[in-house]
């Protein structure tokens, strides 16, 4: 193993949609399934699969309930999710710095 930033990337988080879910949940504190689906331009099934991966990794917590008669699914970031998001962003920044220093496009 080298200390190249690539080695710090987590396969669960280093993915456009899942990183997007974590970023939105971090900023919103709690976010509804419908907002995520629209913001990330996904189908319900596709979003559900990504959420299941994040929930299994204990990075998000999913809460189902009702608002009036309407079923609602809310997503929260867990402390592990906060940490994973912070690590991913830091690693991406390091990676970009390294790419720019080495002159690779």
């Amino acid at each position: 193993m080298t200390d190249h930033p690539v080695n710090g990337l987590d396969d669960v988080v280093h993915q456009r949609v899942r990183l997007g879910i974590l970023a939105i949940a971090h900023e919103a504190r709690r976010v509804e399934f419908g907002f995520l689906r629209t913001a990330l331009d996904l189908t319900s099934g596709n979003l559900g699969q990504h959420l299941a991966v994040l929930e299994k990794a204990q990075l998000v917590q999913i809460e189902k309930g009702y608002e009036g008669k309407r079923p609602r699914t809310w997503v929260h970031l867990t402390p592990a999710g906060e940490e994973a998001l912070g690590d991913e962003i830091a690693t991406l920044k390091r990676l970009i710095r390294q790419i720019e220093q080495s002159g690779t496009p």
């Binding site: 970023a23 919103a28 976010v31 419908g34 907002f35 995520l36 991406l92 970009i96």
Partner: protein, 228 residues
């Protein structure tokens, strides 16, 4: 590692920029700046008759060539605490309801709590300064510009402006921060350009808040539109 080129969707620069775009989208969905500004503009306008008709001098001294007085509006000390608490409760309810409808969490409690605390401290300071004006050299000298600024900042109009800076922090809005600082400058130094009367400062403050509310509402409307 393979020799295959990285997917453009997982390119670090693209990932970071997509994350920033999503963050901005969430912030836009959470903001509702126009409402507090509109509400406070209305309350400030409504406070003018309260201040005007309960305003009376509590102490006057002769200081050639005329005399200097300390004025006091007792009903303002009833109107403003009540109005501000009700306003912050209404703002909190509006933000929570709107955020729930849009599907995101709301960031309003720190603003409402800070607003009420700032208003309470400002009211206390204002009462203290009204009954102990010697702090600023009264009646021998007129207050310095810095003291005048402080006297304006502890008015309800100033307390509203200070709380707007907290809202700017909570909403992470640089535009609101700039607006809040400009508004405080108007409240703090407005007396140098408008006539001194119980009507002038609240009128200027209400106009600034109303213009701000219209500006933020328009900006919200255009930002919400999909790009052509």
């Amino acid at each position: 590692m393979t020799d295959q080129p990285a997917s453009p969707q997982n390119d670090p620069r693209e990932l970071l920029s997509a994350t920033r775009r999503l963050t901005r989208q969430v912030r836009r969905a959470q903001r509702g700046t126009w409402l507090p500004l509109l509400l406070f503009a209305g309350l400030t306008l409504a406070s003018i008759p309260v201040a005007r008709y309960s305003h009376h001098p509590i102490d006057c001294r002769v200081r050639p060539p005329g005399r200097v007085c300390i004025g006091f509006s007792p009903w303002s000390y009833v109107y403003w605490p009540l109005a501000l608490v009700l306003a912050y409760a209404a703002i909190t309810a509006f933000y929570l309801r709107r955020a729930r409808r849009r599907g995101v969490g709301a960031r309003v409690r720190p603003y409402a709590v800070a607003g009420i605390v700032i208003a309470a401290v400002a009211t206390g300071l204002s009462l203290w300064l009204a009954f102990d004006p010697g702090v600023f050299g009264y009646p021998a000298t007129t207050p310095s510009p810095a003291a005048e600024f402080l006297l304006r900042v502890v008015t309800p109009e100033g307390a509203i402006g200070l709380a707007l800076l907290v809202l700017a922090r909570v909403e992470r809005s640089r535009t609101l921060l700039v607006f809040g600082v400009a508004y405080l400058a108007v409240v703090g130094f407005g007396w140098t350009v408008v006539p001194r009367s119980p009507w002038s400062l609240p009128t200027v403050a209400a106009a600034a808040l109303l213009l701000g509310s219209i500006g933020f509402a328009l900006a919200d409307r255009f930002a919400g539109r999909p790009a052509p």
